[in-house]
Amino acid sequence: MSTAPVRSSAAVEGPPDPDLIRIRDLVYQVAGIFHPDSKLRLLQDRCGRRMKELKVLTMREYFEHLTIRPTRQTELVSLLNEITIGETYFFRNQPQLDALQQIVIPKVIEAKSKLPLKRMRIWSAGCSTGEEPYTLSMVLTEELQRRLKDWTIEILATDLNERSLAHAKTGIYGTYSTRHLTAYYRQKYFTPNGEQLEVQQAVRNQIAFSRLNLSDDARMTFMKSLDIVFCCNVLIYFDLASKRRVIQHFYNNLLPHGYLFLGHSESLYGVNDDFRLIHLPGATAYVKGERVQAGKQAL
């Protein structure tokens, strides 16, 4: 029997650099995004890009750029931009979508079963160029033939960035965004537009795009009666106090049975105690700590 060392191909070769681990912990503490050991190479690569830009040679020195130097806040944002770059594409988090379809939607239907109005309201908060709300619209359209027969679907898609929203409203995407589309979804919900793909009208009709700053307390108060909120890779850019305010708004805006989904490996630890982490197959989400039966609260 061979006794060759067993190494995970995804892991960083050799013991992880302690300064890289410190950066991992800093990113988690500040932005709530965690890089498990198997993703450390990715973090190292993203740090490497910033180090090249700054002409920094060691991870230790780069850690100082992130923690001690006067430009540390700016540098942290630059690193977070590197970490989340290329994160926007259709069907980005399949286990999360499977959990939505197989578990969360049936739970919401059950919670609202005694209500006369069959309406499901979903908010894509920080929708960027629109891939997330369109993905949700397609997944829910599939359910309209099954569990959601006779239901109305409303998807609110908001972002702060006007240019991203303008792109989202065109519904036209290139190969990068559409690379994870299965042939089924591609054929059923898209029309070719030159080299690109255009989202069909039926998918677009369920979505209302609007500009919204999540720090705008007055406007946040009006996002009421939500069943599910998706807020992926957005909170990472907020400081702790702002993050807490935004999360509290989500809590208030969600119905008692509501669900909050964050991005992959994104956590609310240390930010909010009212939401409870739940485990779905291959994904996590947050629910209200003291869940009460739908209908007991005015909808």
């Binding site: 006794t3 067993v6 498990p36 291959g282």
Partner: protein
């Protein structure tokens, strides 16, 4: 045949346990030896015990070189492994390989390795979780996680056809395996595992973990160890270290009895960062799959 007689007949077959191999010869004495206080343990004696079984020793070396056990320099002998990793780690590794060797090759179409992957995953999560919440004996937590599903191995050996029925039901419906076993067999792997744990004369706390990791009794002497295993098991079943199929449900750890029980003994559990532990599982998944492919599927 009534449901009761059917259950009794199945259980009597399990009780016979004729087909199942005995605990690997090395591991019984090793387990008993390791029950002694750490300062009385002798490295040479442990090396000699494991080296008696050459195949086991080779597997141990392969495992000792996995990142799962935290070593980054090549380990080429049992002695180096013990010196480099410590007695506890090496005995964890020996036990893990021992359990792997118990899994039957032909299991009526079920891939038996998923159960070993799951057990190894639960063991690693138990140890990691135990350390984070300052549970007094992380080594015991590892062993408890590794052995908690012993009954599945029993069922695979003794009742392969019937167990296949339960497994297929669980997979088709997306329900926990023990619920499907209850429906199909009338009993669960907790009961069959207990019979083997008794026969192997495992320590009382491990026997209780095997018996109660799906039904924690109130006020139990070993409740915190059982609770720790139950929560780690749940986390693994909701991740890629499951039983080879997806359980279609939502799990709120804070609503589990085991959560309340563990929080009584380890107050750190209340403020514990479950999200981070869940994300850390991703690393285990990759490394467990890599290790299993290297050792078992060559």
């Amino acid at each position: 045949m009534t449901a009761d007689t059917s259950k009794a007949s199945l259980l009597s077959r399990v009780e016979g346990l004729k087909q199942i191999p005995t605990i690997p010869a090395v591991l019984g004495p090793l387990l008993r030896y390791l029950e002694q206080p750490a300062e009385q343990l002798d490295v040479q004696k442990i090396t000699d015990m494991i080296a008696q079984d050459k195949s086991l020793a080779a597997q141990c070396l392969q495992m000792a070189n996995s990142p799962l056990f935290g070593r980054w320099q090549k380990i080429d002998s049992l002695r180096t492994a013990i010196v480099g990793l410590g007695i506890q780690r090496v005995s964890d590794i020996a036990m893990s390989c021992g359990v792997l060797n118990l899994i039957p090759g032909d299991t009526s179409g079920i891939d038996p390795v998923v159960f070993w992957e799951h057990s190894l995953g639960v063991a690693l999560v138990c140890r990691h979780f135990a350390r984070k919440i300052s549970y007094p004996d992380p080594g015991k937590a590892y062993l408890a996680g590794l052995l908690h599903d012993l009954g599945i191995i029993v069922n695979l050996w003794v009742l392969p056809k019937e167990f296949r029925g339960a497994f297929d039901l669980a997979r088709a419906e997306g329900i926990p395996l023990h619920e499907a076993e209850k429906m199909e067999l009338g009993f669960t792997h907790c009961e069959s595992g207990r019979m083997l744990a008794d026969r192997w004369e495992l320590s009382a706390d491990l026997r209780e973990v095997v018996s109660y990791h799906h039904s924690l009794p109130q006020g139990h002497e070993h409740a915190s160890l059982i609770a720790l295993v139950e929560l780690s098991d749940l986390l693994c079943r909701m991740s890629g270290l499951n039983h080879g199929f997806i359980e279609k449900r939502e799990v709120n750890l804070f609503e589990q009895t085991s959560f309340a029980v563990l929080a009584q003994q380890c107050p750190g559990v209340k403020d514990f960062d479950w999200a981070r532990l869940t994300f850390e599982l991703d690393s285990y998944m990759d490394d467990v799959h890599t290790l299993v492919h290297a050792i078992y599927r060559k």
